[in-house]
């Protein structure tokens, strides 16, 4: 599920950046291909995977719909996709079947990474990692 989440989120973000598609086309287009594939070949994988993969995939594409103004870091988006898959796997059964629940899960996982300014871009992330290493070394010396 985590791998599918990575594929959905990073694929959507890549398509938006590389091909200049609007975020709706990137998300809906990729999800449509995946959903159609499992509709045409329903017995290719186990029934659990046939049912779950398209659901996880479309939800993760919402993570990839994030604007470059918010974050341009592929690592940050991959991290958010990982959080998304964790929340998805354990999300409350009370909200099962509610329209928008997948989008809410995606939004929650993106907000977690957007709470840190270091996930804004890969450059900022490198600076943040360097700062952490420096602080760690300094604490070791003390």
């Amino acid at each position: 599920m985590i791998i599918i989440s990575f594929a959905g989120a990073l694929g959507t973000f890549y398509c938006s950046k590389r091909f200049g598609w609007n975020s709706v086309r990137s998300s809906a287009g990729l999800s449509f291909i995946v959903a159609l594939f499992f509709k045409i070949f329903p017995t290719l994988m186990s029934s659990y995977l046939t049912e779950t993969v398209p659901v996880v995939f479309i939800g993760s594409t919402f993570v990839g719909m994030v604007s470059v103004k918010q974050t341009s870091s592929y690592f940050g988006i991959a991290f958010a996709a990982g959080i998304y898959s964790v929340i998805f796997l354990y999300s409350s059964q009370y909200f099962e079947g509610y329209g928008g629940a997948l989008g809410t899960t995606a939004c929650v996982s993106l907000l977690v990474i957007l709470s840190s300014p270091y996930f804004k871009s890969d450059k900022k992330l490198r600076v943040g990692m360097r700062k952490m290493k420096y602080r760690f070394k300094r604490s070791e010396i003390r």
Binding site: W21, N22, S23, V24, R25, S27, A28, G29, S31, F32, V34, A35, L36, K39, P54, V55, F57, I58, F62, V63, G64, M65, V66, S67, V68, K69, Q70, I83, V86, I87, Y90, S91, S92, Q93, Y94, F95, E96, G97, Y98, G99, G100, A101, L102, G103, T104, T105, A106, C107, V108, S109, L110, L111, V112, L114, S115, K120
Partner: protein, 192 residues
């Protein structure tokens, strides 16, 4: 109270509403207590980070209050009802129905690339499609979907400058619409 004061109150109210929905979503995982302790602690940490993001992040929301045009948000019910028909009445399932509506809607700006109005429609129709992805276990009623999409449209109109560019905002709006419509239906059934 002047207009600026009213707008500030509305803006803050909407931010609290968004936070409450996300908070509730995570809290239900903790309340259900079905996940291992490690996951529950992670969810607790996520809740703290979300609170911090809403409280501190300067990039999440614009400082000014702006409203989406009603002529644009009126397309939310169209997206919802078309996805609902494809999902439940034609049996395509929620994912294929929602993605098909979104995929077709993404080509609308190609009709006239200079039109600002047409460029806004894909996201509005996709937002509606999320409402239409509701499962039959929640509702299989046209009126329910229409009501949920209207609530979603109102929130979309009011939240133009909030959570800008954050993926999942449209889904959250659809979720608010469906949850409030469910609550209204339950209250109405109790009253009858």
């Amino acid at each position: 109270m002047n207009d600026a004061g009213k707008n500030k109150l509305l803006r803050n109210g909407l931010i609290i509403c968004f936070f409450f929905v996300h908070f509730l979503f995570l809290i239900f995982i903790l309340v259900e207590n079905k996940a291992p302790v490690f996951i529950l602690s992670l969810v607790g940490i996520f809740t703290f980070f979300i609170f911090y993001a809403y409280y501190r992040s300067p990039f999440l929301h614009h400082h000014s209050m702006d409203f989406e045009s009603w002529s644009i948000v009126l397309w939310v019910p169209a997206g919802a009802l078309s996805a609902f028909v494809l999902n439940q009445k034609l049996g395509l399932g929620p994912i294929l129905a929602g993605s098909l509506v979104g995929f077709l809607a993404s080509f609308i700006p190609n009709i006239n690339k200079k039109s600002f109005y047409l460029s806004q429609l894909p996201s509005v129709l996709y937002c509606g499609a999320f409402v239409g992805m509701t499962s039959p276990a929640v509702s299989n009623d046209y009126t329910f979907i229409f009501l949920a999409s209207l609530i979603c449209a109102v929130f979309l109109m009011l939240s133009k400058n909030l959570l800008q560019g954050v993926g999942g905002k449209l889904g959250t709006l659809a979720f608010i619409g469906v949850v409030l419509a469910t609550l209204l239906y339950r209250l109405f059934n109790l009253w009858i």
